[in-house]
Amino acid sequence: MSTVPAFETPTGTNTGLSKGILAPMLRGVLWAAVGFLALNTLVTLVHPNVVHSFVTQVSATFGWIGALVGWMFAMGAWDAVIRPSFGFAANWTERATGWRKYFEYSTDHKVIGIQYLIFSLGGFLLAGLAAMFMRLQLMVDHMWFYQFPNAYLTTVGIHGTVMMFSFGTVIMVGGLGNYFIPMMIGSNKSAFPRLSGLSVWFLPFGYMTVIMSPLLGAWTTGWRGYQPLASQDGNGIIFYYLGVFAMLLSSLIVALNLTSTIIFNRAPGLRWSRLPMFAWGMLTVSILNIIWVPEILMTFILGLLAHIVPLPFFTAVGSPLTYLELFWLFGHPEVYIVVVPAFAMWQEIIPVMSRKSLFARQWGIMGLIFVMLLSGMVWAHHMFPTMQNKEILPFSFFTEMISIPTGFSYLAILGTLWNSKMRLNTPSILVLMSMFNFLIGGLTGLFLADPAVNFQIHDTFFVVGHFHYTIIGGMLFTFMAAMYYWLPKLSGRMYNDKWGMIGAVWVFLAFNATFIQFFIVGLRGMNRWVPVYPQYLQTMNFEISIFAFLLGAGFLYNVIYVIWVWNRGSVVNAENPWNGKTLEWYTASPTIGDNFKETPRVVGGFYDYGDDVPKHVVLEG
């Protein structure tokens, strides 16, 4: 085990693309531009192009493929995959230190994890800016910030798409999963390091595609990109389908890699019964990705073809509801892809902070697995107003039942808290806040699961409040908890708990003040997808916007503070400041190169506390 290096030893001479004059990402952008121009020009020349414009919907599609190939080749595919495939020596070097390693090809799972954190955070900030623009427009009941409703609706689409596919789906899986899973299971590397090194570069390419979509034309469908409405949209919708395709391809590769890593790379003695909770979370979420991402990728191809050929799959002469069915078939598992890592993380942080054995651990694991299974059986509740009675009842049933396995995560945590020795600090407080928020998200789901009530609150701000409570409240607060928990591990530096706590309380208050009002304004008749609304709703929308700006500033505060600590914070006194038991705490902080010089042998559970518990890890030379 200890002989397997963390990243591949560089081979060959440094003459390939990776040793050019330009920085790798700059070179990537250049090759992407070359690829786009080349294929776009070619297609424009051969395509019977009645509008005589240089960029058409067909040429943009092919040009995008050219750009993707150019970008991926420059970012490592050429040196690490294509050349060796033809028998030439692989040709890249990996820096062990310095910030530059995060902006070029790497096979080290820790570098890849941080690359995902960086690019995913980039997506979060851009999509967050889009949300601020939306709230600016909604401060007043008529058009003012935007001149055209199309521009507002495109912003809604960019906000939702980039948040979900580059942040929600990615940061805890591609980011924390890639970084910590090999460490937590006692391995020096992930199962497919070269593939994993490539996967991260699909992410920024994908969301920059979506963000640049207005260049091709407005699209009005929101994050669903849904047909038949999309059939009328401008060509920006093409960049929606293609951009999300690239982002989800990235997540699919992460899922394959993490699943294989958890199955095959576990340290001796790390039996399934001892698998860390976060690894259970990553395994269940990866299986969800492997099942459902290919389904939506296929749907996006159909949507794309319906637009550029055009094939009338989803218009009135086709089947207008089919796209929505296919989208939500993926779309509901997707929200559990976002939030299951959070459930797992609660059960990782709370035992450590409360110095108490995880309560009813097997029920916690069953919760994750049954949420995974049931999440594919509830999608149609997103479409109750399109349905008949006999079709609604089974979906309503499963929707209500999924709260039972979800509740098992609460069961495990509340049982652990009782009679514990709780350390109240930034990570543990953030977990408790997250559980409070997700509880509101879950209980408001009861109203939405009931068809009679659903018919009133569907497509209103009540729903918007509900899912922001589950996703920001559940996942984002837990991600923040995980960052404060693992910051000493990631950076070797410790934050000041007072400044961390200010960040936590700030976003908690601003978040609740913003989104609790979404429920009320929705009940009062505020519908979704509108830049303008009846005048009687203006006062409430105005104050919602004020709190939303405070929330945006709160997130910015936390981002800046964490980055500052990462670089300038005080160096940690102890390698294991929380006395955590999982294997990542048996590595250096921060770890450079190999995680484990000696192979860890696991001889006990990671979640067993008490003064008489014997040592659970033995390091072997």
């Binding site: 409703p149 038949p228 209500e400 020795k421 497509d459 009940l523």
Partner: protein, 275 residues
């Protein structure tokens, strides 16, 4: 054990107080109800609210009580003295309660209330519908971006107000049968012109998606005389995004007495005859 009893007592007291204090909120969840469907929905929402409230109080109380009561004192290190990894009673109670509450909520209000919604004789409408009267059929056509209403019983093909904007009057107390289609008579040759809309009257507590290629029905009995001018919840609003004109896809709605409705019909007939 004393700890458990203290917590349980707190939970019961706080739940009782919350049920009492928030009862007005639960029973006014719909803000304004002007039809039998809205009244039914409001009842369902109030039921869910009152059942969910003790669950909410339990978890929130635990999230506050336990970390404070069992917090580590300053300078205190080491693991907790109590290391209980399982409790048959707690797990069994948790599992049973969550199963029973969920199944119960599915049976009532979900399954029972939804029956009425797709039925031509809605639950609870006996008192409001005059005997033997057929529902008043209102044909609704959704297009980008307009609601077009016609009432075949009185030969009205497109009801409008004095400014020529689409508008709808409904008689109070009579069951209405909305026939909903997504169709564009100005662009009948273009299949891409048809998209999904959603017919929503907030005060009626119900919305039905209007889907190209399908004819869908909605049965409602208005119960309160009101109008958009009096209460903005009484309006027809498209609720499913249907392009840039979506926010403006709304019309005024008037719920009037049968006598006022009859005179409005006469005025409309005269208007249509003159044009």
């Amino acid at each position: 054990m004393a700890e458990v009893l203290l917590f349980g007592g707190l939970w019961v007291v706080l739940s009782g107080l919350a049920e009492y204090a928030l009862h007005p909120m639960a029973t006014h969840f719909y803000i304004f109800t002007a039809s039998n469907t809205a009244v039914d929905g409001q009842k369902a929402a109030a039921f869910i609210f009152m059942v969910a409230l003790p669950v909410f109080i339990f978890v929130v109380l635990m999230l506050i009580y336990a970390p404070i009561r069992f917090r580590a004192k300053r300078g205190e290190t080491g693991d907790s003295k109590v290391q209980r990894k399982h409790s048959k009673a707690f797990v069994l109670a948790w599992f049973s309660v969550s199963l029973v509450v969920n199944v119960f909520m599915f049976v009532h209000p979900t399954a029972s209330a939804v029956e009425g919604y797709f039925n031509s004789i809605p639950l609870g409408s006996k008192s409001t519908a005059p005997d033997g009267q057929q529902p008043l059929e209102v044909d609704v056509v959704a297009r980008q971006w307009e609601w077009v209403y016609s009432i075949p019983e009185y030969g009205l093909t497109q009801t409008v107000n004095a400014d020529g904007n689409d508008t709808l009057y409904l008689p109070v107390g009579r069951e209405i049968k909305f026939v909903l289609r997504s169709y564009d008579q100005s662009h009948y040759y273009d299949p891409q012109a048809y998209v999904i809309h959603s017919f929503w009257i907030p005060a009626f507590g119900i919305k039905t998606d209007v889907i190209p290629g399908l004819t869908r029905y909605e049965y409602v009995t208005p119960t309160v005389i009101s109008s958009t001018q009096q209460n903005q919840m009484v309006r027809v609003q498209c609720a499913e995004v249907c392009g840039p004109g979506h926010p403006w896809m709304e019309t005024n709605l008037h719920i009037v007495s049968p006598a006022d409705f009859a005179s409005w019909v006469k005025a409309q007939q005269k208007l249509e005859a003159s044009s």
